[in-house]
Point group: C2
Chain length 360, copies 2
């Protein structure tokens, strides 16, 4: 079984860290100063020489404060993806419901466990991708079903309607609803379902904590669910799974509530403005960007280029990497995904796209 | 299922990093300067903001150089323990052979998959623990068996006879032999079986790369096996499993062959001298330390104390943590394990042990 392709594959082009990377989707503002300071302190104090606390008590206390969830409903993992790899072993479902296009690893982990997949494709409206809510709800009554939604969705950048998750959980008889909220902090509108956990033992939130802080390399993800389910996830996950530097740095960072809130507000404000600006520019050069709530934009190439070829041209000739979105289930070779960067960098991408697609 | 207890549980006592920790077993010399420099460089270059290369090409090249194994026979993991958690799913065995006392997680992972465990206990000779080689070899002919050996063994510190692994692999019909070599670098004698991998597709080496470099918090383990088996391990393990800082730092460190060789030689020389010195001192205060080849010593308390109580007294009254070895399968409450530290620290432990066990 071949692993799915992802953004951020700058390594393949032998110029990691030097490529202008629009293919991954971290925070364009870069990491908060507090995080870098905490990492420096961790190095000075030789924290990496010690095993992390296997119970991750301090880290969970900090996350509890950050997400307003009780500690016993939080599990910590080596990236949100580790939790996804454990999902079907913990939940013991017999079939999976997915809504393509969405995060490719959902398909990978279902295939890993040889589970049949039912699909309720998103509906492409002219400037956005929407859930087919009615068909989704109809499917949820089945037995032993595990439905996975991504909110906001990757790669489309769309939020799920606020009450839909609660309605959906109510429809599930003996299965589970898993919601991946890895991009929720990037959105101005908070549609998080974390507050539903208390009353809904068949709801599981999976979430990256590193993307919004521009720290994907530190690998920290969480599961928010009933304490029983959290315990099962952690029992199957290796001891000391989050490394000492990450545990130390995030324990410090997430306790600084005011500074973190300010960083998040600035990030969202910046992303919101920059996304609107880029959507206009992309339209101007003849492309069809979809509405997004977050830091990346799915773009329809309107048959003006093949996504794989366009990616190769941009990386070879311009040292810029975009995400060929054709590797997402349900998308043709007519789609790319662009992760926002700083305005001057985004402008360079527009210029490059224009040169390639509209040669005079 | 409750996770096994481990050394290094300084966190439980609320004074992490400040306790004198004899319970874990890293390198008493501390990390090589090169490693710390590489981590500093990684921070300065914001490497943690980037996803690691999911193929870990550079890291594998560096490990290949360090261990003299072809890159395609190396899998990298979030600590050796991640590989152990995947073991039975990859190898698809039906029963497990273990030699107590040994690393407690072997039992945990076998129980996790509900596999029956056969045991061939080590034989306690007056100053060492030995494999029962004949009984071990007799068991290996069975069907679908996965035998796990630890070489040198934790917690006894003993090496397995050089030719035994090759004989054992030869006896296996359709099962696998897994050898955990996480402590091999601590020993003056190199009994590694890595060179047998080429000719024996049913041999798998699992190994921590962080213990010897005093960097347990960075979580890096490897599997060395046929490329087919390595691929299966990696397919079941989450993408980006080794974090960016670890991947960067170890890619740098392991390429500096001369400096690493010198660090290893100094470490082994120091450990060898200090272990001999400590064994004499432990005997002098009326305890029975077992011969060890590595950086830790299993000690028989000769019924002068209960291991759990002794641990509590030392941590409360002396701020020193030892490993209560009664949590190892096959050992009674008459055993502790001591990880060597610097001579003056080790002397403090001897003094404390003497005060507690031999009050005047």
């Amino acid at each position: 079984m071949k692993k799915p392709e992802h953004g951020g594959d700058v390594w393949r082009y032998g110029k990691a860290y030097e490529i202008l990377d629009f293919s991954s989707n971290g925070n364009p503002l870069g990491p908060p100063v507090l995080l870098k300071d905490a990492l420096k302190e961790a190095l000075e104090r030789d924290i990496y020489c010690f095993y992390p606390d296997p119970t991750y008590l301090e880290l969970k206390q900090a996350i509890s404060k950050y997400l307003s969830v009780a500690e016993d409903k939080i599990g910590v993992f080596n990236g949100a993806i580790e939790a996804l790899y454990l999902l079907f072993r913990v939940l013991n479902g017999k079939k999976v419901l997915l809504t393509p296009p969405s995060f490719t690893e959902f398909w990978y982990v279902a295939n890993m466990e040889n589970l049949p997949i039912e699909e309720v494709p998103l509906i492409e409206d002219h400037d956005c991708f929407k859930l087919n809510e009615q068909r989704l709800l109809e499917h949820l009554g089945g037995k032993d079903l595990i439905a996975i939604l991504c909110n906001p969705n990757n790669p489309t950048g769309t939020l799920i309607r606020k009450n839909l998750i609660e309605e959906a959980v109510g429809m599930i008889r003996d299965g589970f609803l898993v919601v991946d909220e890895s991009f929720m902090e990037f959105s101005h509108e908070n549609h998080s379902s974390i507050n539903l956990i208390e009353d809904h033992p068949n709801l599981i939130i999976v979430k990256s904590l590193t993307k919004i802080f521009s720290a994907s390399g530190l690998r920290l993800g969480v599961v928010i669910a009933s304490s029983d389910i959290v315990h099962k996830f952690e029992a199957l996950s290796p001891t000391w799974r989050v490394n000492s530097l990450t545990a130390f740095a995030f324990s410090k960072l997430l306790r600084k509530t005011d500074a973190v809130r300010e960083y998040l507000m600035n990030s969202r404000r910046f992303i919101d403005l920059e996304r609107r600006r880029m959507i206009k520019k992309l339209r101007k050069i003849g492309l069809r960007p979809y509405n997004s709530s977050v830091n990346f934009i799915l773009v329809n190439l309107c048959e003006r280029a093949n996504s794989r070829e366009l990616k190769e041209v941009l990386v070879r000739q311009y040292n810029m990497l975009i995400r060929d979105a054709s590797t997402f289930k349900g998308l043709s070779e007519n789609y790319i995904r662009i992760g926002l960067k700083r305005p001057e960098q985004n402008d360079m991408l527009i210029k490059a796209l224009n040169e390639v697609l509209n040669p005079c």
